[in-house]
């Protein structure tokens, strides 16, 4: 048994390729961050992050090879995140602070004044 167990052995090709793809995407997103894309910058950055997350979830976490219920749980997480964002947005995005000038963000230096 120990004979076959010596050393680390070779990593599976799929894992190595995933790892290299992830590192490539880090380089890509870092480079694109310095390109003036205007408001599309955040969209591109999040799209690349989503691709990276997809690789990790699919090839490292093997979500689509496990039980179906695990996919339901993962999907529910994203679904409730969407609910959290949309319901919170109904409050915050409907506020009109700019018109009232009613900003009251703390600076952390209140005590020193």
């Amino acid at each position: 048994m120990r004979g076959a167990d010596a050393g680390l052995g070779r990593p599976p090709r799929a894992l190595v390729l995933t790892w290299l793809a992830l590192l490539g995407l880090v380089a890509l997103t870092l480079g694109l961050a310095y390109v003036p894309l205007g408001r599309m910058g955040i969209v591109v950055a999040l799209a690349i992050a989503a691709v990276k997350a997809g690789l990790v979830v699919t090839l490292f976490m093997k979500l689509f090879r496990g039980p179906v219920l695990a996919r339901v749980a993962a999907g529910a997480g994203l679904f409730w995140l969407a609910i959290l964002f949309s319901l919170a947005a109904t409050d915050y995005l409907a506020r009109n602070d700019a018109a009232t000038g009613n900003f009251s963000l703390p600076t952390g230096r209140e005590g020193s004044r």
Binding site: W19, T29, K52, A73
Partner: protein, 219 residues
């Protein structure tokens, strides 16, 4: 701690098969991770609101984060996810020493991440961008910078706590693997710990562009 016999899986009475038992454990972790998405979700919404409301002050603050350390840490964490996935693969193929060594490597990469994060916090303390404790920024956008750094420390701090817990779990699995606690038929704890570790990596995959890459192409 009672380890499972090498080639026989201890079946709890509520399960019909070992496979059902293993899948239930994985499902439990996925459900927990779904709640973790919401745990980070509140802070991510705060981020979205702040960035949409004060785009200029936000970009100005985000541009001053330590992008070199942030990028190195991203590579470190992605690499640790790779060694973690490799460890699960090794466990699946009954390569016990390889499993233990790869788990140890994963934990060490996690420690490296925390070390670099600590260096970053130290630099930020010296720069005076720690709101409430040591914040020395002036100018029209100082209040936005303060909010940015509040969020920065909350997000990275809570993520750091997750990394710390992950290191503990992975190290524990490394010890159990080294002692022969797992086999090709029983390695569920390694697998479930792996799911948690990958999730911590997933959070960082989104934090990296949100924190370090925002405002880089601006004036």
């Amino acid at each position: 701690m009672s380890e499972a016999p090498l080639d026989q899986v201890h079946l709890e009475p509520q399960y019909a098969t070992a496979r059902q038992q293993a899948e239930t454990a994985a499902l439990g972790m996925w459900v927990f991770l779904a709640t973790e998405v919401l745990f980070f979700g509140g802070m991510l919404f705060a981020y979205t609101y702040l960035r949409a409301t004060f785009p200029e002050g936000f970009a100005e603050a985000a541009r001053e984060t330590h992008v070199v350390i942030g990028t190195i840490n991203t590579v470190v964490l992605l690499t640790s996810s790779f060694t973690m996935a490799w460890a699960v693969h090794a466990a699946e193929h009954d390569r016990r020493r390889a499993t233990a060594l790869l788990l140890a490597a994963t934990a060490l990469l996690g420690l490296l991440f925390l070390g670099l994060k600590g260096l970053e916090y130290y630099k930020e303390w010296q720069e005076g961008v720690v709101p409430g404790l040591n914040f020395h920024k002036d100018g029209p956008n100082a209040h936005v910078a303060a909010m940015f750094y509040y969020l920065y420390f909350m997000l990275t701090g809570v993520h750091g706590v997750h990394v710390t817990i992950g290191i503990g779990l992975v190290a524990l699995m490394a010890v159990r693997a080294w002692r022969g606690g797992f086999s090709a038929r029983y390695f569920t704890p390694v697998e479930v710990t792996g799911l948690y570790w990958h999730f911590v990596d997933l959070v960082w995959i989104f934090l990296y562009p949100l924190i370090y890459l925002a405002g880089r192409s601006g004036p």
